[in-house]
Symmetry: C2
Subunit: 448 residues, 2 copies
Amino acid sequence: MASKDWKAKAKALKKTLKGMTAASDQTGTSAAQVVAKKAKQVSPLAPARFPSLPIIAGVEFSAVEAGIKYQNRKDVMLVRLAAGTAMAGAFTRSSTRSGCVRDCQTKLALKVAPNTGAAIIVNSGNSNAFTGAVGDKAVAAVTGSVAQALDLPAERVFSSSTGVIGEPLPFEKILDKVPALTSALREDAIEMAAHAMMTTDTFPKGATATVQGDGGLIQIAGIAKGSGMIAPDMATMLVYIFTDAKIAARDLQKMLSRNVDQTFNSITVDSDTSTSDTLLIAATGQSAAAAVKGPVAKAFEAALRDVMMNLAHQVIRDGEGATKFVEVRVTGAASDVDAHKVALSIANSPLVKTAIAGQDPNWGRIVAAIGKSGAAADRDKLTIKFGDILVAKNGWRSPGYSEDEGAAYMLQSELVIAVDMGLGRSKRSVWTCDLTNGYIQINADYRS
Amino acid sequence: MASKDWKAKAKALKKTLKGMTAASDQTGTSAAQVVAKKAKQVSPLAPARFPSLPIIAGVEFSAVEAGIKYQNRKDVMLVRLAAGTAMAGAFTRSSTRSGCVRDCQTKLALKVAPNTGAAIIVNSGNSNAFTGAVGDKAVAAVTGSVAQALDLPAERVFSSSTGVIGEPLPFEKILDKVPALTSALREDAIEMAAHAMMTTDTFPKGATATVQGDGGLIQIAGIAKGSGMIAPDMATMLVYIFTDAKIAARDLQKMLSRNVDQTFNSITVDSDTSTSDTLLIAATGQSAAAAVKGPVAKAFEAALRDVMMNLAHQVIRDGEGATKFVEVRVTGAASDVDAHKVALSIANSPLVKTAIAGQDPNWGRIVAAIGKSGAAADRDKLTIKFGDILVAKNGWRSPGYSEDEGAAYMLQSELVIAVDMGLGRSKRSVWTCDLTNGYIQINADYRS
């Protein structure tokens, strides 16, 4: 960025900030508190609107109000997938993962041929995690009920629950609504489904991509929920991606597994890992295009990856209390493992995240986070940049760096922290957000 | 705790809380915000007063105002140690640790016989970390100047710097004050020294113990600083312990190393590791008691450990924004490593820490933290307690647990979260504090 550009931008942004500070002075609250108070409003980092998602042939949605925890909003959603749908998934590795997650894993491992249809049922408000044998029975009852209503084998009905951990799930409320859910299924209700699975989310998350297949288009549409308790450990929170591609389950699973690491495994809001993280992909095979293979397979995988990355970034954009969207870009690491360690150490550091919240270009805290990461590091070979601004190199502050320039950069809502380790060729990006009063308030108040 | 006891206690505490809430309603700020606003005041968890520390024969202190960053307060302190003083130390393992830390490590490794005296010089306001070769020169200049002034070999002068990372240390300001420091040395000025090294600390930290040696008493007095960027990775922040014991440096080092793991390596405020963590122990050998050996060695080590634990706990009690002092006590783990992993995972979980700040007995988040720890865990064998209150066992909420009882417990300012893994005999405690708006405000504002 040219010097004049950032100065002009900084001036404008500082003016805005000054307005906020002035306002806050009157009420005795800081700008961060103002943001915190608006925590229930839509995240300032949210996309302008929910994207227009295509209808995926063979996929229908419905959602109802079951009153599990939230009132006056839809909290259970159902997806029906036509016969011939291939399924693949990725899940949290938490040792205390929920009954739903274990059930999905068991069912996918059965590798049932997709000659029957399938279904996914999701509730918000209660995660049915750490609810013991009673929780496992609830999963069996809910998936069994959907299987019966839709005339599917039980092993083709997948479920997710998201919300409070440790409270028994009032699953009878879901059972009562199965008839309403099955009778309301519609091809064009994916946005409603995205809404029904929200918890502390401030906006529903959707993404889409289209691929030119042999003989026709292949469509991909995905939805996600996630806001807090976001850390990479196979997938993140709840994500469902639908496509009409003709592709075998094992190929779909391979594509998913190849791309989950640099998408959903590369985001962190708060370093906390959910017990419910679930990513399911369903391919109905109803596209007019021929089976996915050759160059189309490459294009399809790239499109799938785009949708995954887009949804992963939206989860960060809805990070609890977030006011900044931050890419931590590590290059020059001695190994891939080291690159990931350094990126996560910076992205999870409360001191780095609070400095970002305070719009303070406190690159010293980045140095400390590199130091604690456990990765190979040589102080005198490190390079640190804020965006294009060279901040530090050769073991100390760059002579050309000006604190004013750094401070101006930090006023932006989208930031890149770039670290070159100067040791090798491995690289990794991780996406995160800042740590604000909003996060504290949401999580100190949640449940109470 | 008998049922009546906690009910009475809860009633009283709820009344107090209600007062806070009522007050906060009027101003539109939460109780947590009230605490945050008082962040510059002394921590609510602080001891009533600085302890009365004994004079340690052979140890003198002084402190001056050098204006390194802070104005109108002492920010550099000097300790002179008499000839015959044995030294031992423990340091951060950060790969970006400061020049002072590397210098201390190099000097201790030289194993210079204590026939000359020694000195320690400490400044606050600037950590001289990630300041490259210029920073290393500053360390050499400061320690060299003290060595000359006190007629000591340079390898017997140790230094620490604490404060902002990455800013060049204005070390000339320290050099200018060396004459004033050396002329002001006094045996009874340890509290002043503890004050001079404070940064975001809200109170100076001191602890003492006395041991009956053969032929006389052995005294121990220690001081510490630390408030944020506290995580276990050899020692934590700055700690200096003085004793008049007659003990060889190698024995002192062994005792220190044996006990650092369960004291300074078992505390965490925010999971961030400092680049400056330094623990130095100096034994002047001037006690009337005979050399430390046999049963006296055991008693001395126990007393030393008590002082280390006491100072470690005070660091947590001064955790940035802290309103709760929390012991996470893990038992029944499959291995020592697992016990430590689980305890740290809970103690570092932002969601657990914000729930504690919100006085919410949200034990589900504890389950999630256990799950993400990487330690062996079996949902159906876990037991979770708040103090003596059985919360969960056998994979779900205990039938006898009442949320009201849990909520009443959380109102206390000192909490024990006890987790039995039900898998083995390994155990570990870690001490931490809650995560509040106060932490955010201190760290979003610090430096700016």
